[in-house]
Symmetry: C2
Subunit: 344 residues, 2 copies
């Protein structure tokens, strides 16, 4: 495959490189007959303009990147899926960067993405989920956003004024709590999630408030923090079940934790939901794969991804772009929750 360049095309069509560039990019009118001649040569050589060269001329690369903390947690592929579909529709291609939840890796990727002059960065999880993000980590994102549109998904950086698309996670957790209270549960626990992350903090706060509204409290020994993984859910549930008076309903920080909790409870001979009710969060594809199917909170994952790309598109094209968009979650009742034991 000989590498035909824009110069070869210009030479053969007997026009200037600028003219070829105009034909390729539609940046300025070209006489019809000249345009035809150029297109004939392009067609003849099946010429593919070098995106690198073209982007240097047009000062854009047509690429959006997404930074996620864990590609193996199904929540993130679902957000990615929504973004990628929207990106393709808008003519962007998609970089995926996996930070493994390490802030150092995030910094590294931010630096690479600035270098590569991507047209937008979607930031999900990691530092934007910290209740107290160190100022230098905030500044790095703010500085990046001066040159490249940045959209935060389900996260926040204090005083940063960055564009955000997020689920009202507190409202979702309140729905979960209201649901088990309505089913007659009074002994309610919350498990999973790191204590320093806003996603955890918001959910815990909302659950506490909802319980208090009903004259109930969230006991200290029924609030157990951990990772967002299946393994963590399993371990935390095991701890809960070792207690003398175990809860009858457990609200989990996400579906992974809930799946682990189901496993731990079942292994100990408990029937779900007859003996204990379990609620997840995310409505990931796995929630219908487990037995029993998971009652959970859906947060329109695809839509989050889609809206993030839409914002980047709007910013890049000088269109009005909402600074902050909040999506309302919904409760999805399946099989893992039922009336409290002893209730009619």
């Amino acid at each position: 495959m000989k590498n035909i360049t824009i110069y070869d095309i210009a030479k053969e069509a007997d026009v200037s490189v600028t003219t070829v560039s105009r034909v390729l990019n539609g940046t300025a009118p070209v006489k019809a007959s000249t345009k035809e001649a150029v297109l004939r040569v392009i067609e003849k050589h099946k010429f593919q303009p070098n995106a690198l060269a073209r982007s240097l001329i047009k000062k854009e690369t047509g690429t959006i990147a997404m930074i996620v903390p864990d590609i193996t947690n199904p929540f993130f592929p679902e957000v990615f899926w929504g973004s990628e579909n929207e990106a393709r529709e808008k003519g962007y291609t998609f970089f995926l960067c996996n930070s493994a939840g390490e802030y150092g890796r995030e910094s590294e990727y931010l630096s690479i993405l600035r270098e590569k002059r991507v047209e937008g960065i979607i930031f999900v999880g990691g530092r934007i989920n910290l209740a107290n993000c160190p100022p230098e980590l905030v500044q790095e994102v703010v500085d990046t956003a001066k040159g490249i549109p940045v959209v935060l998904v389900n996260g926040h950086l204090a005083k940063s004024q960055l564009h955000r698309v997020y689920t009202d996670e507190a409202a979702g957790a309140a729905l979960a709590a209201q649901h088990v209270i309505d089913l007659g549960h009074r002994e309610i626990a919350f498990i999973g999630g790191m204590e320093e992350l806003t996603t955890t903090i918001q959910k815990v706060k909302a659950v506490k408030r909802k319980l208090e509204e009903h004259g109930l409290g969230l006991r200290k020994d029924r609030l157990l923090f951990g990772e967002f993984s299946i393994t963590a859910g399993r371990e935390l549930m095991a701890k809960l079940l070792e207690q003398a008076d175990r809860p009858t309903a457990v609200i989990c920080v996400n579906d992974f934790t809930a799946i682990g909790a189901i496993k731990a409870a079942t292994e100990r001979g408990l029937r779900i939901p007859d003996d204990i009710s379990i609620v997840g969060f995310d409505d990931s594809p796995l929630s219908t794969a487990v037995i029993p199917e998971l009652t959970t909170v859906t947060q329109n994952t695809n839509e989050l991804g889609k809206l993030a790309v839409e914002r980047i598109y709007q910013i890049n094209n000088g269109l009005p772009a909402k600074r902050s968009t909040v999506l309302q979650p919904k409760l999805v009742v399946r099989q893992s929750t039922g009336r409290a034991p002893g209730m009619a």
Copy 2:
């Protein structure tokens, strides 16, 4: 953030652009005192060389892309994870392209990646998994590989001579069949996977061969094709269970199918493995999340991804690169398989 260019650095350091480039890229020796002066100016402005411009000089972008058919199937994030870690170690960054299993999208991505002059493409699933891939789809990949190293993971394009890294899926399926035969099963079924894909064909052939070795056959009504999804596994298992004489062991094309199969069997009141044994394939993280935990075949997913990046690195650096690398799968026995009903 003022955009400092290489020209500004050159001007302020009172050297040529070429000298700055040499300092940045280490492409030729520069006098120590000059180098120091240039580095001082670079440091002062916190100058980040534009990767686009740099790659035009160096004719490389430091980017590897992976094309996958379905980012929400955990097998692919696991391969990606292996590749991404290796890529970072080798100084590459990583593009992820999701084709949704559409050959048209694959073509589009190949074209974009050629344009973007990535340094390597890892191709997983999609057309490379077709038993009879149309010649023009093969040619497209072969043409791409003339300019960019391409590595196929768990797939193949006839007569293409492309680099491959793959699991011996036939050997894996044979292990699964041998396992249930050893447990005394005689009534064995195979479900899942599209009939035209090599991953399905190889597994079915291997299971048939293994059964024949033991004087058994794979009945036509016990070989049911479908998608690779949980939903498909559920539907196919439901079909099997409607039959008058149902099998006592079911080998599934992948873990997703097996999880769906477990669900269908449990919903019908069957106990696993007492009434029916189920085997998966892939050993995805989900295989330990379900109840009962899945007996499955591990194919060293991370290792596949890692080796693919290694090949690209070797090709790009003129090192010897094995044309074809095969990994041997292993059986992982967990809780979803047991002795055939009626056996001691």
